[in-house]
Amino acid sequence: MLNGFVAAHDGRVRRPDDTDLVVRSDAPVEGKVSVVTGGGSGHEPMHAGYVGSGMLDGAAAGAIFTSPPATEFADLIDEVDNGSGVLAVIKNYEGDIMNFETAIDLVGDADVETVIVDDDVAVSEETDKTGRRGVAGTILVHKIAGAKAAQGASLSEVRKVAERVIENVASMGVALTSCTPPEKGSSTFQLGDEEIELGIGIHGEPGIERTQLDSADEVTEQLAAPVVEDLELSAGDEVAVIVNGLGNTPLGELYVVNRKLDDILSDADVDVYRSLVGEYCTSLDMSGCSITLLELDEELKELLDYPAATPTLTIRE
């Protein structure tokens, strides 16, 4: 898969020999903090799709739904680091965290900091559990941290702005069907024709409620309400929106969801500053979508608008 990806985006990205990494073709880029990520495959275009100027310097790809090993993360740091430091954007899964922490031990002297993305509001935040999952909101962390790094900010400044995004971003997904991990060859879970799973995880982890399939408008309301509530949005707030397809949802349906979401937000006097509608963080062949909102401030807006050129997301000047 990675070779095909690199072939499709030749000149922008490269795959270092004997690795499952994708890095900017000009990595290591001198004079800036590097921003990296990684995780299991099966979420294409995440993660390699966000490697490019203004976003990620590199990404490590694991097996389907499985964290890359610590050694790959360590190689990733070595490939991109120019001495200015590395910020790793890790989604809140134990495998990703443990492997990345071990990688930091392996590389020893590099200046590496991490942020953990946990935007999925479907998961309760009890302290004795793993906590909220990282899902599509991660893309906004990549975008904004990448922009901050491109502007020449220090590692701690890049980390701080990434943490601010994490505090202000929330997501929720819904599945109409399960995904089919290829090595298993069958669905992870079963949903009836008329059933949906609210709060689905991007690996097919069960959500919070299994309910009857309703109209797109009803489903959008059920997704938007907990996200709006989590962010405590009120009149006058500005947000960035992602309406994300989970792998097997027609783009047209995502626009239907976005239309309703736009209505909900405008009824609440919340201003949509920028919208992304499409497949940004998928779950193999799952039917369904997720909604992500990021509450913006002036700096986050500026960083969101900062130019980026990646295979998946391009922001022009």
Binding site: F65, T66, A70, T71, M98, T102, K129, T130, T188, E205
Partner: protein, 235 residues
């Protein structure tokens, strides 16, 4: 790996014994990978069996190219851990593979009982620390801790035969794995299903029981004792 007064198998070195154990565990996982994956699909992301199988297949290839008799036991275990860590990846790679790598430092005298107990405790410590896990969180920890406890006590008091010791440890591992069925998961992806995880055993704990089954059967054969283990039915 057994009573302190005897080396396990006169005709096999510690090194050969370790390789044999790894081969048997790999074969069991190959046989049961669909079952393990099925268990994982009830509570997790349905890849445990295939990941374990992929890791162990790579381990066997690595061992195949190794001159076992001229390699120290600790080095073999370290190699097994390193290959598992990079080939299995995920949390399992760090916990199982990293655990073997760390604990291999305790194998000083080959497979004698004291070394094995020290090794097992170091492995338990690694899992506890890296996984930030405790008893009752529905993980492999629930199977491995009671088994290692029993192993360690038996060796300390030196009253049981080697096969009795491993049989009792196996029984404890199986009880622990069964116990995980009653628990709500607190760690990993299984924790997201909350109460829906109740009623299904943790695949890591079931795998732990499989490891102890293979240890026990190897020790039984090696010591040529036919003592019926005090064990429950297989899960």
């Amino acid at each position: 790996m057994t009573g302190s007064d005897t080396s396990v198998q006169q005709d096999l070195s510690s090194e050969a014994l370790i390789v044999k154990l790894v081969e048997r565990i790999a074969r069991r996982v190959d046989d049961e990978k669909e079952y393990l994956t099925e268990l994982d699909s009830k509570i997790g992301d349905a890849d445990f069996g295939v990941n374990l199988d992929r890791g162990l297949t790579a381990v066997l290839e690595e061992l195949d190219g190794m001159d076992v008799e001229s390699t120290f036991a600790a080095e073999i275990v370290e190699t097994v851990g390193r290959v598992l860590m990079s080939e299995m990846a995920g949390s399992s790679g760090i916990l199982f593979g990293g655990g073997l790598m760390t604990a291999s430092a305790e194998i000083k005298g080959g497979t004698d009982a004291e070394s094995f107990v020290a090794f097992a405790w170091a492995y338990v410590d690694h899992v506890e620390e890296k996984g930030d896990v405790s008893i009752g969180a529905k993980t492999m920890f629930d199977a491995i801790v009671p088994a290692v406890n029993l192993l360690s006590k038996s060796v300390e008091h030196d009253e049981r035969s080697p096969a009795e010791t491993t049989g009792a440890a196996l029984a404890a591992a199986r009880r622990g794995a069964k116990f995980t069925s009653t628990l709500e998961a607190k760690k990993g992806r299984a924790s997201y299903v909350e109460s829906r995880s109740i009623g299904h055993p943790d695949p890591g704990a079931v795998f732990t029981a499989i490891v102890f089954e293979e240890i026990h059967s190897l020790v039984q054969e090696a010591t040529d004792q036919d003592i019926a283990a005090d064990v429950d039915d297989p899960l």
